[in-house]
Symmetry: C2
Subunit: 510 residues, 2 copies
């Protein structure tokens, strides 16, 4: 026993200063060329089927570095996601074109002034970018008109397929490329966006390898944070440990999203952690923590939530809620495969949670009836999960033919599609005690009866539990890319110093 | 000796898991009220001297949360600096007004929808903000017109003093407040900006305490990074350690600026570290590191550079360049006091460095003549230092009456003012071997003679050294707010495990 303890301590201290995942893997160079050829294939198919010529150019404008308000404080640049998908360019100020007839890719780099070398670094040559991003040609941004015209041939104006379309999560529109003398081209604003968005929903092996790495380093970081969590800490200290692990050992400078480090009652605030609720609570013995944190590796993200008691030991109430969510998480994962509809998965998660709450004495009555009355949405107002990739909420959840459900809970779903092989999607059921939703439902004459008012009072300041993993849909099921302790006993073991993954015999002795 | 070693190791390991500066100090609540009353005092004085009535309102619009491109990815919000100065509001979407006749402050908070409570957290009450930001009144943003009119009295349109003016570092203009029905007010776009900017140049004790804390935690973090630097690491690992220390123990979620972690030749790239040069080099035994990193605490920043050999031991060449810069740093600091002109300080730094380079056999000839030929700017193309506060490059460096110098090096100065008591300004001399500047100067017929071409060849890939501290100008001198090892032997001692500050007898045994 004493020996075991000592080993556990060694493990903890070694894991605090290193990682089995360091150094991070190289990025497959052909990744963006593959993404481009997939797009061109789809585009040609679309143009053929509309009897349009297989000519013209896809043209995208990359992002620009931004200053903070009127100052010279520059925000750390992160490439626009569609541009990153096709070209992988890390630098600001680029344009990129793909010739539809030949599939050739041309990057347009900004011409940098000589002082750049003094202040910002080596001015890289055009061949450097050609080699770096595996394109066919690199020119300067002031040569767009000339280069595209000369590639086009023929006397009519070349057609530019520009990116214009609505993001179904933000409702914002992408910004079509703009440059001088655009009037020398025809432009098409409708064809590109849906086709490119659809390409992004199915991940190649190269893309998957990056999402897997982002998951590996983030899973490891979650485990490290869990181990070092102690009552009396500030929530932001958990965030800091996570960020440090993923950057120090994973080279992840960006996160997929602002870390949500919620403890106690804060864990029922679904998007906690932003500037107005900045992970600044001191947490106490007896609190649950809900940590939703994911690193981004070379543009590709991860999105992982772990929930656990900050003192390392579940109470029976905590176990009840946690296991309700875990069962939903596991049931959904084991049901997922191509063709399965995501709204059905959401309902499966809801039903599983409601059943567990009923078994636990918190709810009363017929679960089917509860479903009809949308009681599930009282406890889980958010959607079950979303596509994941270069964006945390990757686009493509609602192509034109798919309608967004209108019911509470379901309307929050970021996709209502059928699963397809190659999709990466999060599974993140949750169960929260949110006053703003519970109180009206418990007062409402048609839904009051489902609640065991006496029992539920105990959970007033409980907060909530969410368990989130990233899944890759295979030909006949789904692979979990996330590797965190999920069973309550696994969490307790890891938090008391056991290595992760648990050793075989430790796992058997459950 | 063995005992000493052991202690050193204990020191290192304990400093890696804690900090004497944790928890961070509370923020003086009266800070923003003081800033406001200073502004109103200056404004009234200005209006009186122009025979204008002491009436109307200062009105500022706070920042808004930003999405990344078309997605729903929200960037972590950081308040606009002028708004932060007057109101300290951490949340997006506010307006703030100050009644010039009474000095009373009114905040206008955004009316949040009921779903906010579910997704983003508790909807805070107006009295909460009144207490939190010590203002006289809090209303909703849709009440601006009504509230200001009712406070105004009288039948003429109230005058709004809006923020409009150019930042002399970015050349960008601040954005005056905008809201519906602005036509119900007169607006003045010229008075506020220069007066408010001037207020920001002189720091109150409350402001100073925050800048001091940002310096304390950042200095400690620099020392921690120095100690853990080992050849074979990646530059970003140094950044990660710094960020972790200042967030984990200092609660600093924001940095003053993107960390510059430059090693080897990269250390001559003045603003290294951005997305196109992202601190991603693996450094080697024999390299120098130049780390320019500063945390921000409750809006107030720090800006600190340490330069050191990554293996912990200076070579004689490294010592030569380092000590040239250190002497400039120290000479400037000991000369600083109110009335001293900053351009003169820049020249003092240049002269000191040129003299040292001459003593070291790198330059030849008359230093005064070198100055006239602007050889100083070949080795230090940036300005000596800048005002520091809520912005890293705090505004106010060039009020209307001060002209920007035109000579190489001097034209990069972010201020050409005389020092005044209460200013906080960085002192950051540097000496770099930048091919793009050296080669032309060494070829130029009138400057070639100053260079010892044979000696200088040795420094081709040396990179550069910068030493940067933050100074507070007192009534008769200047206090250094930064506390990092600066002498080469201090750096070597700390890197081999000695505690910082060095113990008295260790310091004596130099
Ligand atoms: Mn998610
Ligand atoms: Mn500086």
């Amino acid at each position: 026993m004493a020996k075991h303890c000592k080993e556990a301590i060694n493990m903890v201290s070694s894991s605090s200063s290193s990682s089995s995942l360091h150094p991070p893997p190289p990025v497959p160079k052909e990744l963006y060329a593959l993404n481009r050829s997939k797009l061109i294939g789809s585009l040609r198919q679309h143009l053929s089927s509309s009897n349009r010529p297989l000519k013209g150019f896809v043209l995208l404008q990359g992002g620009e570095e931004q200053n903070r308000y009127c100052t010279d404080h520059t925000e750390l640049f992160r490439q626009e996601s569609y541009f990153a998908y096709l070209f992988g360019v890390k630098e600001p100020g680029f344009y990129g074109a793909i010739d539809i007839s030949t599939g050739k890719a041309i990057l347009f780099a900004p011409k940098l002034p000589a002082e750049y070398a003094v202040w910002l670094g080596e001015i890289k040559s055009l061949p450097h970018f050609k080699e770096m991003y595996m394109v066919n040609m690199v020119c300067y941004t002031d040569e767009i008109v000339e280069v595209l015209h000369s590639h086009h041939g023929g006397s009519e104006k070349p057609v530019l397929f520009l990116l214009h379309g609505q993001n179904t999560d933000s409702n914002n529109f992408s910004k079509p490329a703009e440059f001088k003398e655009m009037e020398k081209f025809e432009t098409d604003l409708s064809v590109l966006h849906p086709i490119l968005t659809e390409c992004r929903t199915i991940k190649s092996d190269a893309e998957l390898s990056l999402i897997q790495y982002a998951n590996d380093i983030s899973s490891e970081a979650h485990v490290g944070v869990m181990r070092r969590t102690r009552a009396g800490m500030k929530e932001y200290q958990l965030e800091s440990m996570f960020l440090h692990h993923t950057y120090m050992y994973g080279g992840c400078r960006h996160c997929s999203y602002t870390c949500i480090c919620a403890t106690g009652g804060n864990s029922s605030v679904l998007h906690y952690g932003h500037a107005a609720a900045p992970n600044d609570r001191t947490f106490e013995d007896g609190d649950m923590a809900l940590l939703d944190m994911g690193a981004e590796y070379n543009f590709y993200g991860s999105d992982i939530t772990c929930s656990f008691p900050v003192n390392g030991k579940f109470t029976s109430d905590q176990k009840l809620i946690y296991n309700a969510v875990l069962k939903a998480h596991d049931d959904v994962i084991s049901t997922m495969k191509p063709g399965v509809n995501w709204v059905d998965m959401h309902k499966l998660a809801e039903k599983t949670i409601l059943e567990s709450l009923k078994d636990g004495g918190i709810l009363i009555g017929d679960v089917h009836e509860m479903m009809t009355e949308r009681i599930g949405a009282v406890f889980m107002p958010h959607g079950l999960g979303h596509l994941l990739g270069i964006d945390t909420h990757d686009p493509g959840g609602y192509p034109k033919e798919i309608e967004r459900p209108k019911e509470p809970g379901l309307k929050s779903l970021r996709t209502a599609r059928d699963l397809r092989e190659g999709m990466v999607i999060t599974v993140e059921p949750g169960c929260y005690f949110i006053d703003a939703l519970l109180a009206p439902a418990m007062e409402n004459s048609s839904t009051s009866k489902f609640f065991n008012h006496k029992e539920i009072a105990r959970f007033k300041s409980f907060g909530g539990v969410r368990i989130e993993s990233d899944l890759y849909v295979t030909s006949n099921g789904a692979d979990n890319l996330t590797n965190c302790p999920r069973q309550t006993w696994e969490i307790e073991a890891v938090m008391s110093g056991a290595p992760w993954p648990l050793e075989k015999n430790a796992a058997d002795s459950k």
